[in-house]
Amino acid sequence: MSKLSKTSAVPDMVPEPRRPDDAPPQFLSVRDLKVHFPTDDGVVKSVDGLSFDLEKGKTLGIVGESGSGKSVTSLSILGLHRTGSRSRNARISGEIWLDGEELLSADAARVRELRGQKMAMIFQDPLTAMHPYFSVGQQIIEAYRVHHPEAGKKEARKRTIEMLDRVGIPQPDRRVDDHPHQFSGGMRQRAMIAMALVNDPSLLIADEPTTALDVTVQAQILDLIRDLQKEFGSAVIIITHDLGVVAELADDILVMYGGKCIEKGSAEAIFERPEHPYTWGLLGSMPRLDRERADRLNPVKGSPPSLINVPSGCAFHPRCPYADLTEGASRTVVPVLSEVGSRHFAACHLGQADRERIWTEEIAPNL
């Protein structure tokens, strides 16, 4: 596969804004993000105070189930919830700093410049994310030319074919003119990755990129994402509910529940020594090929919470087998993320001694 040249031949049309003095040093820094949707039934608190950082060249895995707020987080980073003046749309607060620039207060034109260029997204289902009427080539060319208006058609097409080749699509000079439905699932996802990477984004967000794919194709796509990250040095956020996928790709993991982060740390720490009952539950409820077959799975009882009527105190308390050990705090007080290990944080009222005991006696032997 050809090595791609970076598109630095043409200078930026708009100069980069000056980095303010109070900008955080990390490449991506999300601070206390809240995304609430007012509806007839009440306010849906999809994301309710999320903070995390990410450096270039690293991968963050955001893990959670339906309604945990993980997809809304990624859409907010890309500015896809921005409203005009309508009051019924999302209410967003907090800060999202990308390379020293705050995105939530930036104006729409600036965010549009960045979207697809500095930050790009791979969506879950390429069949619905790509336009069925236009060829894959036309769509990638469009993504390229929107951010490089001075580039000619020939140059854009050459770049597109280069990109399709890089993501492993055979005969790219022929397939560039095919429509999305003419590709198989795995090839379509590769085409979408090509579209996301055509402008060398520094931040790549992959929202459930392999959920719709067969397992052998999933393995190819995960390998591809890993290789491309090494080659381009981008920061990658991978959003998934699949703990296997996140173990394959992520350096750090953030576990979301009920719109909040309930645990975050390095991938090793989260898998080897998780410190939150929900994470214990997730790890314990999966059948695993790399362990002896368990006679019975240990599911987390109950269902994910409503985001309109989020349970009081700790959102997980109705499902938590250890809520009684907190002397009522889980029911009334929202736990804050506190350090439980080196760069490892958990939001839980259980005392250190209780957590250690439960881990050694109950959880670890059954994992």
């Binding site: 189930e65 339906s66 067969d214 409820s285």
Partner: protein, 344 residues
């Protein structure tokens, strides 16, 4: 397995439990492709192209494979939601392959299906009570204390509250809807339950609940399951024996220990090595077999062994001759000219 079967279940006419409950021979289903003004058949999607297998009473057969392998079509063929183009399906020794609607009707009490999508498999305009009582109505079954009581008992059996009788599907979560589908499938105490991807549409924490429920119900009611899924970890957990399908054919069938311990078909090997393992330390250690390309189309499957286009072991014979499904002494069956882990 025989212990579970003798508890509270009568096996009609069969001596002991040695007769298979379901026997499939040479099962074929081709969907015609019609083109042109006169709608002439120009080709066919060879979804299922010659399957042979049996299911014994009380066991769980897991069927695993990727998109286009024909596993869902196979599920619909054995429940006779589709009529086979060729081959034979025998249930309790009786040939049901080409039975008409009225002849099939009494059989439908014994063979039931749980569908994949909990959102589209329940009629949104019917209450839970109507949905779960439909089997009683359609089969004209009288119950001891009335249908409503029977339905409420079923709801409790699957972990729902009897008060949910008057609610509509949209008021429930995915996992609860799947439980409603299970209650409906069990209403007439079937002998065989075919579950097509019963947990793939559910969140991880709910999947485990439903898997445990299916397990419990099997012990309590002496059910026989055919579970179709693509998730190898779930299949290993629920199945006694597993059949691996590829492009309309079975490439390997074995009991759970043999299949996961010593898989013989290269495709099975590749499938297992592709499953991401939730252990970041194993990331660099694992030797992953990466298959090239995607699954070929079932409209024109490759000649000879269908897997040869993606197989790293393929030789000339693989391109020309289709390997038959051959059984070893252990009962492990594999269709390959160059099987791995083969005992000498």
């Amino acid at each position: 397995m025989t212990d579970t079967v003798s508890e509270g279940k009568d096996i009609q006419d069969n001596v002991g439990a040695t007769e298979p409950l379901l026997k499939v021979s040479g099962l074929v289903k081709h969907f015609p492709i019609n083109k042109g003004l006169l709608r002439r058949q120009v080709g066919a999607v060879r979804a299922v192209d010659g399957l042979d297998f049996q299911v014994m009473p009380g066991e769980t057969l897991g069927v695993v494979g990727e998109s286009g392998c024909g596993k869902s079509t196979m599920g619909r063929l054995i429940t006779r939601l589709l009529e086979p183009t060729g081959g034979k399906v025998e249930f309790e020794g009786r040939d049901i392959t080409h039975l008409g609607t009225s002849a099939m009707r009494p059989m439908r009490r014994d063979v039931q299906m749980i569908f994949q999508d909990p959102y589209s498999s329940l009629n949104p305009r019917h209450t839970v009570g109507t949905i779960v009582s439909a089997p009683f109505r359609l089969q004209k079954v009288e119950t001891e204390h009335g249908t409503k009581k029977a339905v409420q008992d079923l709801l409790e059996l699957v972990g729902l509250s009897p008060e949910h009788y008057n609610r509509y599907p949209h008021e429930f979560s995915g996992g609860q809807r799947q439980r409603i589908g299970i209650a409906r499938a069990l209403a007439l105490k079937p002998k065989l339950v075919v579950a097509d991807e019963p947990v793939s549409a559910l969140d991880v924490s709910i999947q485990a609940q439903v898997v445990n429920l299916l397990d419990d119900l099997q012990s309590e009611l002496g059910l026989t399951y055919v579970i179709i899924a693509h998730d190898l970890s779930v299949i290993r957990h629920v199945s006694d024996r597993i059949a691996v399908m590829y492009l309309g054919k079975i490439v390997e069938i074995a009991d759970r220990e043999s299949l996961y311990g010593k898989p013989m078909h290269p495709y099975t090997n590749a499938l297992m090595s592709a499953v991401p393992v939730p252990d970041p330390k194993r990331r660099t250690q694992r030797k992953r077999i990466l298959l090239t390309g995607d699954v070929p189309s079932p409209i024109s499957p490759p000649s000879g062994c269908r897997f040869h286009t993606r197989c790293w072991k393929a030789t000339e014979v693989c391109k020309t001759t289709e390997p038959p499904l051959v059984a070893l002494r252990t009962g492990h069956q594999v269709a390959c000219h160059h099987p791995e882990n083969a005992p000498e």
